[in-house]
Symmetry: C2
Subunit: 335 residues, 2 copies
């Protein structure tokens, strides 16, 4: 910049004013400066300006557990869009579900001067994130309620999603509705609450034999699915496969028994009703909207310590075989 100023015989200040459309520059001078800047391919270094001005960096950090996960990439897309609308960019990083890496990444992002951080936490406890709350902008949790620290968060209303799905099954005449998922995670336990809520509402007692809570891995899900579905006449006519391993296990189990009438299956997650050769309903969160909301919380921080942490609940929608899928999500592309 100085060299540019020298070349034009003006001061650096004038160049700065001209480039930023500030008042106090003659029109002729401005044109000269802009022309020379374009000719030399000069681009101001925004880092230095922010530094001087003490202005926000226009940078938001995003720490996810896995970038390959479709839920995460939708969330990333939402954060990115909200940031773009605020002239900010996103730094993404993946913790690979390691809490230690997670807090390390938050610290690194802070040191890079981000205006705030959105974190999809790996574990259930978030005490390790407390250090990341001091000294920078807001820290917002996504898809998980804060535990062990006070922070804003954006959640999916899992209770309501499971509740509505289950209610629809009752309306369709089902009376024996199974539930299959780990309830060690927040989402799983919330979904079970919704399941029970719908039963209470319908006046149907919850048959405990139809509620299975395997660990969140493929193996225990598979055996739990087998048990649940082989109860003979007592077998459920419909079921909520309320986490991903459970859904896969149910689809495999049912798929391995051609001929017998499959139960109505409700899954949770990104809408991919084409997954199964038989009717499948999904309770699908709008993860793009969730990401947007999380970024909004970064841009509109609450006064520190003023009020209780905010909590935003995002509704999820039932996407069934009959539902026409709006193309909210871009179709997979071929490279």
């Amino acid at each position: 910049m100085r060299s540019l100023a020298a070349r034009l015989g003006v001061s650096a200040m004038t160049v700065s004013r001209a480039l930023n459309d500030r008042p106090g520059v003659a029109e002729a001078t401005r044109r000269r400066v802009l022309g020379a800047a374009a000719a030399l391919g000069y681009r101001p270094d925004r880092r230095a300006s922010r530094l001087r001005a003490g202005a926000p960096a226009g940078l938001v950090g995003l720490v996810v557990t896995s970038l390959a996960d479709p839920v995460m990439s939708a969330l990333t897309a939402g954060v990115e869009r909200a940031c773009a609308e605020n002239a900010a960019r996103v730094i993404v990083a993946s913790s690979n579900s390691d809490p230690a890496a997670e807090s390390g990444l938050v610290a690194d992002l802070r040191a890079r001067g981000v205006d705030g951080v959105v974190v999809v936490p790996a574990g259930a406890d978030h005490a390790h994130l407390r250090a990341g709350q001091r000294g920078g902008g807001p820290l917002v949790l996504a898809t998980s309620p804060p535990a062990g620290l006070a922070a804003d968060c954006v959640l999916v209303d899992e209770v309501s999603g499971a509740h509505r799905a289950c209610r629809q099954l009752f309306r369709q005449g089902h009376r024996r509705i199974g539930f299959l998922a780990s309830t060690r995670s927040w989402a799983g336990s919330e979904r079970l609450r919704g399941h029970i809520l719908a039963h209470d509402e319908a006046g149907v007692p919850v048959d405990e034999r139809l509620v299975r809570q395997p660990r969140e891995d493929a193996h225990s899900a598979r055996s739990a699915a087998r048990e649940l579905l082989s109860t003979g006449d007592d077998a459920p006519s419909a079921l909520l496969a309320a986490d991903f391993p459970s859904l896969v296990a149910v689809l495999r189990t049912v798929g391995a028994r051609p001929g017998s009438r499959p139960p109505a299956i409700v899954g949770f997650g990104p809408a991919r009703t084409d997954l199964a050769p038989f009717p499948l309903t999904m309770v699908s969160p709008d993860s793009v909207a969730l990401g947007r909301a999380a970024a909004q919380l970064v841009f509109e921080p609450r006064a520190p310590g003023s009020t209780a942490p905010r909590q935003i609940m995002m509704a999820s929608s039932l996407v069934g075989p009959s539902t026409r899928l709006a193309h909210a999500v871009a179709p997979p592309r071929i490279g």
Copy 2:
């Protein structure tokens, strides 16, 4: 930092040295500084250090056409991992397939001091990216060969992928193999080249009636698929559905004709052989590896003007009904 130094009665310099494990600090002083820094929750501002040192920012820009696209998120994951291994972070931005936005984003990233940029270009011509090549680190193109500028790039070997897929079909006894895809895109035309190559190799002439080149939209793909598949006795017994709209069109067309024996179908893109109720083979790029390779080109730039631009070809793999899918990609997660 100054306040910290004042509080300890030392100079800012000593603090700087202590924090960076530089020699020339008494062990006692160092411990005092580190202790105080931890107590006050002080974190050095890396932006300022980089500014002073003129050092690389440890930041790589990534411009994709759409973040929701699974190919893009895999690519992003690859770039992120390679960067993490080099103590760098990734700024992601989406151009939404708008070339103007694309070059704007590259300029913005440059102004933010990134060490290099990886771009998945929206269009076929890239002349608008030339401005983004000056004055920063390398600009690397991903999934598309440079046109209108000289730049390093990382590509998927589409010719070879289509070639191998087609050869496998010949081995399986097929003689009438169709091709369906837009060839206006680089990938599409390359795939057609592979298709032809395999025919030459097998000594089977290419039947032009079996090669359809619709535009890259759902509608023209659908009608082209109908035409191709309703040729009566001349109908192909196998076909390459070589872009995403074509694959969907073929699956729908075949799915709408239960009873008749479906042709063998080869798709291109992320491996999701569960898409169809009948056997489906996919030619799948390893987009994570592609992202890694692109980031590597950023970290190991060639001397400017020294040699011709580098071009890296990534092999893609055939994933068939019989192929066991390695879980290279994390399974979809439920919230």
